[in-house]
Amino acid sequence: MIKIPTKILLVDDEKDFVEMLSLRLQEVGEKVFEAFSGRECLETLQKTGIDVVVLDIRMPGMDGMETLKEMKRKFPLVEVIMLTGHGSAETAVEGMKLGAFDYLMKPADFQDLVTKVTGARQRKDEQEERIRKAEAKLLLRKSGGAF
């Protein structure tokens, strides 16, 4: 089976971390984009269709939470996995209430990350599928069931 790459956007102000994780994810066949701030993250989302965002919560300037809120407002279908520090379970919960898919504690286990990315991608696909079906139904009703 040929794997369809997930389009992942890595957002972290730690450039080295982003670079290495990006190379590693590409190595297992994902398509990876990079952003080093919340602002950059939103700009990238504007230009590129992204499936899953991996978002660091602690960033200077616009922090992860703000970015998440803004992202969920403008791009509600994009799934988000948060990277948090230890002991910030509260932030993680808050983020998930705002619509994040899940969270990981830094430094995260790569296999965990891959599993969660897959889960997030799946949820996004299913959601899009539901929207497509709903749209089709709507179209059917509008056309008065003429098909």
């Binding site: 730690e14 080295d16 971390f17 290495m20 994780l21 190379l23 590693r24 190595e27 297992v28 602690r58 520090g85 230890h86 002991g87 379970a89 509260e90 919960v93 504690m105 830094k106 430094p107 995260a108 790569f110």
Partner: protein
């Protein structure tokens, strides 16, 4: 008054014995001394509350004796007895530290009245000393807790910062490992050596990660003393401790806590610290003529405690930050900026929550909600 221990010092033995008898009849413990020297010898062995001291005595005179007593036993109150012609001695006595003087011939009721007053003064002084001691102890406790908390904040900050480079090392090693697993790399020379070294790097990172996480975890765990807490008592206690400062600033403190079932299970010392923090802040924020009101009620399966002041209020831009560590609007050196931060950590650790409302120029209201029965396992995560 009844058990007041008295030392009667007079060289006239008839007078002395008569007075001593009559005082004993009133239930007091009376020792007698015929001279200043003798009285000092008795004081060495016997605890005494009040000394009744004749001014005119051969040998060591009354004033000199008084001086010695006050120097060696500052807590003892001394009542001087003077002759008509020597009232000046009485005045000198008071200047040296005597409680008061009486002019001979004395009336017993008058003497009793003076003894009672002296005794009351001793009790008051005792109370004051105890309160001061208690306050010092509390302050030390608070400083220790705040220092611990700031150390914790520092440790947590360092651990957080180390996690970032750890993540970089981990991803780099992981990436190299996955490259080595590629088909085209199958036959590179000394492949096992590379794999071995990468394995060591990963183990090292894992070890460091455990350390940082343990460090972050340990910061949160403090030993706890769980017990029955009567909030009414606790609030009374806290108010007493800040009363002086409040009175000094002409701030009124109203305690509206009624005695209806104010008992919860929690940590009394930590709660008291929170109350003191909030009350002290309120006193500092409230100007002369203002007031602070403490209120308490049961709500659901918990309690709700509010501290409302009529102070200057907190500007909107600061309101969100007041619980941050090291955030303070007090002049440098006056506030640690940890009081509210620590208070919040304590309340959250006890499974409760603390909130604040404030209007500029009208005052601030802190609200603490606590479970009636705190179970350590069920604490909210913070």
């Amino acid at each position: 008054m009844e058990s007041t221990r008295i030392l009667l010092v007079d060289d006239e033995s008839d007078f002395r014995t008569t007075i001593a008898k009559r005082l004993m009849k009133r239930g007091m413990e009376v020792e007698q001394a015929g001279s200043g020297e003798e009285s000092l010898a008795i004081l060495k062995d016997k605890p005494v509350d009040v000394v009744i001291l004749d001014v005119k005595m051969p040998g060591m005179g009354g004033l000199k004796t008084l001086h010695q007593i006050k120097e060696n036993y500052p807590k003892i109150e001394v009542i001087m007895l003077t002759g008509h012609a020597t009232t000046q001695d009485g005045v000198d006595g008071i200047k040296t530290g005597a409680f008061d003087y009486l002019t001979k011939p004395i009336e017993l009721e008058q003497l009793l009245g003076k003894v009672r007053q002296a005794h009351e003064k001793i009790l008051r002084e005792d109370e004051k000393a105890k309160e001061a001691e208690f306050r010092t102890k509390m302050e030390q406790q608070m400083i220790a807790t705040e220092r611990l908390a700031s150390l914790g904040t520092l440790a947590a900050g360092v651990a957080h910062e180390i996690n970032n480079p750890l993540a970089i090392i981990k991803e780099s090693a992981g990436w190299m490992k996955s490259i080595l697993q590629k088909e085209e790399m199958a036959k590179i020379p000394r492949k096992e050596d590379f794999e071995k070294a990468l394995g060591k790097i990963e183990n090292g990172v894992e070890r460091a990660r455990r350390i940082t996480h343990e460090l972050l975890g340990s910061v949160k765990q403090n030993e706890s003393v769980l017990s029955r807490v009567d909030l009414e008592e606790l609030i009374d206690e806290a108010i007493i401790l800040i009363k002086n400062e409040a009175v000094g600033r002409n701030v009124q403190v109203n305690n509206r806590v009624a005695s209806t079932d104010s008992v919860i299970w929690s940590e009394p010392y930590k709660l008291r610290q929170v109350l003191l923090n909030l009350l002290t802040n309120a006193v500092h924020a409230t100007g002369s003529g203002g007031s602070i009101t403490v209120d308490f009620e049961r709500s659901g399966d918990g309690v709700e405690l509010t501290i409302q002041d009529t102070g200057e209020g907190i500007p909107k831009e600061n309101l969100a930050r007041i619980f941050e560590p090291f955030f303070s609007t007090k002049p440098t050196g006056k506030g640690t900026g940890l009081g509210l931060f620590v208070s919040r950590s304590i309340i959250e650790k006890l499974g409760g929550e603390i909130s604040v409302e404030s209007k500029l120029g009208q005052g601030t209201r802190f609200c603490i909600r606590l479970p009636a029965c705190y179970e350590p396992g069920k604490a909210r995560k913070s």
